[in-house]
Symmetry: C2
Subunit: 332 residues, 2 copies
DNA sequence: TTGTAGGCGTTATCAA
DNA sequence: TTGATAACGCCTACAA
C-alpha cells in the first residue's frame, strides 16, 4: 500500500505537505495540490484506515451482536443495520452469540478494546433466561455506548429499539374477535421464554379477557415434533376457529396442520402469524401476518446509536417501532 | 481506556517495562510482573487493538461481502464464517451488496485501505449477469487475498469454495427417474441467470437426456406470481409426476400448488427442493431437499483464506463441498 | 533487569 | 506556502 511517506519522497516534498494537499488545505498552493493528487491517483493512494483510527481515537465501526442470523427477523434487522451504517460511513463488525451467554460475553469483551465505537445488541436467549447481563453494564460503564433492540433488558439503562409486542398481538387477536367473530382462538408459540414472547402472550390474553373468551396457549419451544403437537391439538379441539402464532414458524405449520385436519382456511379457521418479507410466499393460502418492521428496527438502531456517538449530552431513549397487520389469505 | 503509559506512570516505571511485563517477557523480574499485572487487572487494561494493528500491519479482520443475508443459504454461510473466524481469533466486517454491482464495488474499494487482511465474497447477481468483475481483480492485484464462494467468476484466479451444483441436481433427478420411476419431471427455478442456477439446470438436463425423457424447465425469476405460474403449469400438464426445484422457495410453493390441484404427495407427484436447516419444517409433507452444506462452506472459506494469509507460497485451490440428498416426505 | 528510542501512517501545531 | 516535530498506543532492538 502506498503511504504519504512514499508520495513525499517521490515528489521531494515533506510528508505534512502531502497530507495537507490531499486534504485540500488552504495552506497549500494549487500547483502542489495538483502534483500530489496526480501522483496519488496514479499510485492508487488510500489513507491507511488503521492509522487514521489511531490518530483520531475513533473507529467509525459498530459492533453488532446478534443471537443468530438464520432467523429471518434478525437477518432483516442486520440488513437494515448494514445499509444505514454504510450510508453513514460506518462499518459493522458482526458477532453471533448463537444464543449463548458465554459467546456473547466473549464478543463484547473482545471488541471492547478500541475495535468499535459502540454496540448494537440483541441479547442471547440464554442471557435473557438466566438474567445474566452484567457484561453489558460493564461495557456501558467503560463509556462505550450500547443500543439494545428487540430482546431488551429492562434493568439496563441504555438506548433501546423495540417492537410493540404487546400491542400488535393484542390487536391481531382483537381483529379475530371483533371483525371475524372468532370465539375459540388458540395461541401457538415457540418463544414463550423470551421477553418478547411473554409480552406477545400477554397481548393475546388481554384481548381474550376483554372479550370474555377462553385463553388457549400452546407452548412448543421445548418440543420435538411441532407439527404433531399442533395437529393433535386441532384434532382434540375441533371447535378452534382461529390461531395466532407469535413466531415466524409455527403459523405456517398451523396452516398446514389445519388443512390436514380437513379444515378450510380461512372459512373454518383463520390464522395470523408473525413474519417478514418472504414469509407469506411459503404458505398456501398466503398467511396473514403481524409484520415486524425488522429493516426499520435496524435502521433506527443505527440512527440512535450514531446520535449517541456524536452528541455529548445524549439522553437515553426507547423507541417503539410499530408493527403492521398484513392481511393475506389466511383470514377472512 | 487504560494505556501502557498510564500504567507506567502509576507504577513509576517505563512503558517498555510494562509492555514486556504484560507480555510475560523473561527479561522482567517476577515482582515487577506481579505489580504490573495486578494494576492492569485492577484498571481493566486491554491492549488497544488499533495500535496493535498499526504496529503489526495486520488487522486480523476479514471482509465478508454477501449479496444478501435474508436468503437462508447466505445466512447459514455467514454463520459458518463467523464461527470459524472467531475460533481463529479473526473478526469479520460484513457488507451486503444487495445484489448490486455498485454496492459491491464500493464495499471492496472502501475496505481495501488496510481495514481487512482479506476478503470472502459471493458476487452480486448484477455483477454476475453483467460480467463486470474487474473490481475484484483490482483487489487481488493489490495483494489482498480474496476467496470466492458459491457464486464464482471463472475468469478470476483465486481460491474458491463451491457447491456441486451440477452433480447434486443430476443425482436428485436421477433418483426420481431410477428409484421412483418418474417420467414427467418438471424443473422450477427462480435463479436461472446465476452461474449456480445454470449448472443446476444442466445437471437436470443431463440426467433427463440420459434417460431419454423430456426436459421441462419453468423459469420464474422475472415473474410476479410464482404460485399461479406453477399452478397453471400443473393444471396444463397433469401428467407431471415429479418436480425439482433448484432454489429454497419454489419447491415449497410447488408442494402447496400440487396439493391444490388435488394431487397427493408423494403418491402422485414427488418434489425435491433445495434447502437448509429449517426449510423442511415449513412444508407439509416435509420437503425432500438437496441440502447444501452452507455452514461448512462458510467454515471452509475461512479456513482456506486464513491458510492463504498465513503462508507465503499459497497455491490457489478450488474446493467442492458436496451436497447431500435429504429425503423428507415429499418423495416416496 | 530496566529504560531509551524509533517506528507503524496519519494529522495537527508551530516554526520557518 | 512549506516543513519539522510531536502525538495517537504499542512493540522491540538496543543501550544502560
Amino acid at each position: 500500500m502506498t503511504t504519504l511517506k512514499e508520495l513525499a519522497k517521490l515528489l521531494n516534498i515533506s510528508v505534512s505537505t502531502v497530507s495537507k494537499a490531499l486534504n485540500d488545505s488552504h495552506e497549500i498552493s494549487a500547483t502542489t495540490k495538483r502534483r500530489v493528487n496526480e501522483l496519488a491517483e496514479k499510485l492508487n493512494y488510500k489513507p491507511n484506515r488503521i492509522a487514521q483510527q489511531l490518530k483520531s481515537n475513533t473507529t467509525k465501526t459498530i459492533g453488532v451482536i446478534l443471537p443468530t442470523v438464520t432467523n429471518p427477523f434478525f437477518a432483516e434487522v442486520l440488513h437494515g443495520i448494514e445499509t444505514n451504517a454504510t450510508k453513514n460511513k460506518y462499518d459493522i463488525i458482526v458477532c453471533l452469540s448463537d444464543e449463548s451467554l458465554t459467546k456473547e460475553q466473549r464478543s463484547l469483551e473482545l471488541l471492547s478494546n478500541g475495535s468499535v465505537d459502540g454496540f448494537i445488541i440483541a441479547v442471547a436467549r440464554e442471557s435473557q433466561v438466566l438474567e445474566q447481563t452484567a457484561h453489558i453494564n460493564t461495557v456501558i460503564n467503560n463509556k462505550i455506548p450500547v443500543l439494545m433492540f428487540d430482546r431488551v433488558v429492562n434493568e439496563i439503562t441504555c438506548d433501546k429499539v423495540v417492537v410493540d409486542d404487546f400491542q400488535s398481538v393484542f390487536e391481531a387477536t382483537e381483529y379475530l374477535i371483533k371483525t371475524e367473530q372468532r370465539k375459540h382462538i388458540l395461541l401457538v408459540s415457540n418463544i414463550e421464554e423470551l421477553s418478547v414472547g411473554k409480552l406477545r402472550i400477554k397481548g393475546y390474553q388481554k384481548s381474550i379477557e376483554d372479550a370474555n373468551l377462553k385463553s388457549n396457549v400452546l407452548k412448543l419451544s421445548k418440543v420435538d415434533d411441532v407439527e404433531k403437537h399442533i395437529y393433535n391439538y386441532l384434532q382434540d379441539n375441533p371447535e378452534t376457529d382461529a390461531i395466532v402464532s407469535i413466531d415466524h414458524i409455527t403459523g405456517i405449520i398451523a396452516i398446514n396442520m389445519a388443512k390436514k385436519t380437513g379444515k378450510n382456511i380461512p372459512k373454518d379457521i383463520s390464522v395470523i402469524g408473525f413474519g417478514y418479507e418472504h414469509t407469506q410466499l411459503l404458505s398456501s393460502p398466503k398467511i396473514s401476518i403481524v409484520h415486524q418492521k425488522a429493516y426499520e428496527i435496524g435502521e433506527m438502531s443505527v440512527k440512535l446509536l450514531i446520535d449517541n456517538l456524536k452528541s455529548e449530552d445524549h439522553k437515553v431513549k426507547t423507541i417503539v417501532v410499530p408493527s403492521e397487520l398484513k392481511l393475506g389469505e389466511s383470514t377472512k
